[in-house]
């Protein structure tokens, strides 16, 4: 069921299960959200020297066959802190890592998981292979010393989208859901036993969606797929866990509003940085990382819309 592809850009040191210095940067306390199911909640912020890049959620599921990890955070030390925290919950080994998508805050902890198969969608592995080093350098600049020892490890198991999406780990049957829209490939993982949906960055909650690589139509389809998955608990890529549709509806409504604001601005002849300073409706101004995230969206998405109005 797995196509194999092994590319490791940088070698890591021999595996150290309990790192001595990880705690200095990342104080990771797993929160139990369902039977056997834990998350590490990221800060609702952009990368900085205080949060050490730990701005995304990651998680793990303890199964009879071992521990399944979803996303590895922004750095090797974060990944090592995850392993240490997991070891305080269970003695079982980590048997697989899934990477939801190729953004730096979700996969740069991979080199803390030496010897564990790391699985991702084809485009995710491809992007990490081609742009991972640039993303790591960027994060070094933003968060500094917490990145030490981090190197790019490309996922070595490519998820075959034509294969059976169901994978059993003991009595945890996981459904691998391949979508796109937040990025060119967005993996969601539904645990059919607990109803927990690890939605990756398809879903944001009380934190403005990051849209630099967004495709609005695809993203809305991914949200519909998430809503129709039958989940009971959703773990967003950023923001608090919820037991209802609220984060999905919030993300969808924000993206619809954003698309319309950009379209209307281009039709009016607004300049990009002028549109950035248009006030946000209270509902969207209240999200974390605003207005910075809205302004980033304008920087990335507006030039194409603006250019299309010129002849």
């Amino acid at each position: 069921m797995w196509a194999r592809c092994i590319v490791v850009l940088c070698l890591w040191l021999p595996c150290a299960v309990a790192p001595a210095f990880a705690d200095g940067y990342y104080d990771l306390a797993p929160q139990r959200i369902a039977p056997d199911t834990y998350v590490f909640l990221g800060a609702l912020e952009a990368f900085d020297f205080d949060n050490h890049g730990a701005v995304a959620n990651s998680g793990f599921i303890v199964t009879e066959q071992g521990v399944v990890v979803i996303d590895t955070g922004p750095s090797r030390l974060y990944g090592e802190a995850m392993r240490a925290a997991i070891a305080r919950v269970t003695e079982r080994p980590v048997v697989r890592v899934y990477i939801t998508h190729a953004h730096a805050d979700h996969f740069l902890g991979n080199n803390a998981f030496a010897g564990v198969p790391i699985a991702a969608l084809p485009a995710t592995a491809q992007t990490i292979r081609s742009a991972g080093e640039a993303m790591a350098r960027h994060l070094y600049d933003r968060v500094g010393a917490a990145m030490r020892g981090t190197s790019v490890v490309v996922p070595d198991e490519i998820i075959d989208r034509r294969a059976d999406p169901l994978v059993d780990y003991g009595d945890h049957r996981l459904e691998l859901i391949a979508t796109a829209g937040h990025s060119p490939a967005d993996l969601m993982i539904l645990d059919r036993r607990t109803g927990v949906l690890f939605a990756g960055d398809v879903v944001f909650h009380d934190r403005a969606p990051a849209t630099p690589h967004g495709d609005f139509a695809g993203w809305q389809r991914a949200l519909t797929t998430a809503a129709d998955s039958g989940f009971r608990i959703v773990v967003p890529g950023h923001g608090p866990v919820a037991e209802n549709d609220t984060p999905l509806e919030q993300t969808g409504a924000y993206l619809r509003w954003l698309a319309e604001r950009l379209r209307a601005g281009a039709a009016r002849g607004d300049s990009a940085a002028e549109l950035m300073f248009e006030p946000l409706p209270p509902r969207w101004a209240a999200l974390a990382v605003q207005p910075a995230e809205y302004r980033r969206s304008v920087t990335y998405l507006y030039p194409a819309l603006e250019g299309a109005t010129l002849k």
Binding site: F47, G237, A272, E274, R295, P303
Partner: protein, 264 residues
């Protein structure tokens, strides 16, 4: 900025003390607290009258995004007799990012200017507006290099916004009617994709009306992205003519129809 407000004020206070000690108390303390402010004054405003002025607003994203043009918008409201607008980025001194000479004959109290910059680092960005009485009115803001959060940086190097569709350089443009007899002009210069690396610098852009009257003149500096969209508000709804010259002496031109007629 990430520095706490208290720290900022401490720096301002310290700077003010230092400036007085050096006998340069006539230089107003920089609200942006840039270490390069003294050099900026020496380079551009020696012996000139300066004031920081809320009527000059600089708008730009909070941070540079890797591989992307940083969009900038300058809005000047309620200033009479504007002769010149000089845009400066402390980190890319010496020289100006852009000089804009608006139509000084128009009794324009409101002016807007939009453009894109190729920035790679944090910098104060300033607009200095020279009025007919010889005073420079200055507004500005910091652009931080510490961009990002989820999805940074760009995973692929983006195409330059004006990446060519054809082989010859060209100008794309459009005008929108604005209140009070104004029109908004937007245009961008298209470089052929094959020639982008070797493309000569733009030395001057002029906008004139159908009667041949000069309505605006732009002199780009080195960090300006010549392929990003330029935005100007012109105090006329007459058809306009755009004339671009480059460092090799080449000239590209085009007309833009009346904004009044373009109104749907």
């Amino acid at each position: 900025m990430r520095a706490g407000t208290g720290l900022l004020w401490l720096c301002l206070f310290g700077y003010a003390l230092g400036a007085q000690a050096a006998g340069t108390a006539s230089i107003p303390a920089d609200p942006l607290d840039s270490s390069r402010w003294r050099y900026i004054v020496a380079e551009h405003f020696r012996d000139a009258r300066l004031m920081f002025d809320e009527r000059v607003q600089v708008r730009a994203p909070d941070a540079v995004e890797d591989g992307r043009a940083t969009p900038v918008f300058v809005r000047i409201s309620g200033l009479d007799d504007v002769r010149r607008i000089r845009v400066l980025a402390d980190a890319v001194a010496p020289g100006a990012v852009l000089d804009y000479f608006p139509d000084s004959g128009a009794a324009a109290r409101d002016l807007s200017l939009g453009f894109g910059l190729r920035l790679a680092q944090a910098t104060p960005l300033r607009a200095a507006v020279l009025t007919g009485d010889g005073v420079w009115h200055i507004g500005g803001r910091w652009i931080d290099a510490q961009g990002g959060g989820c999805a940074a940086p760009s995973m692929t190097l983006p195409e330059s916004a004006g990446a060519g569709k054809g082989l010859a350089p060209g100008i794309e443009a459009r005008a929108w009617p604005r209140p009070a007899g104004y029109q908004r002009l937007k245009f961008r210069i298209q470089a052929p994709a094959s020639a982008r690396e070797s493309w000569p610098a733009i030395t001057q852009i002029t906008i004139s009306d159908s009667a041949g009257r000069l309505r605006a003149r732009l002199v780009p500096g080195k960090t300006l992205d010549p392929t990003a969209v330029f935005t100007l508000d012109i105090a006329s709804r007459e058809p306009l003519h755009i004339d671009v010259r480059d460092a090799r002496g080449q000239r590209y031109e085009r007309g833009v129809g009346s904004a009044a007629r373009a109104l749907p």
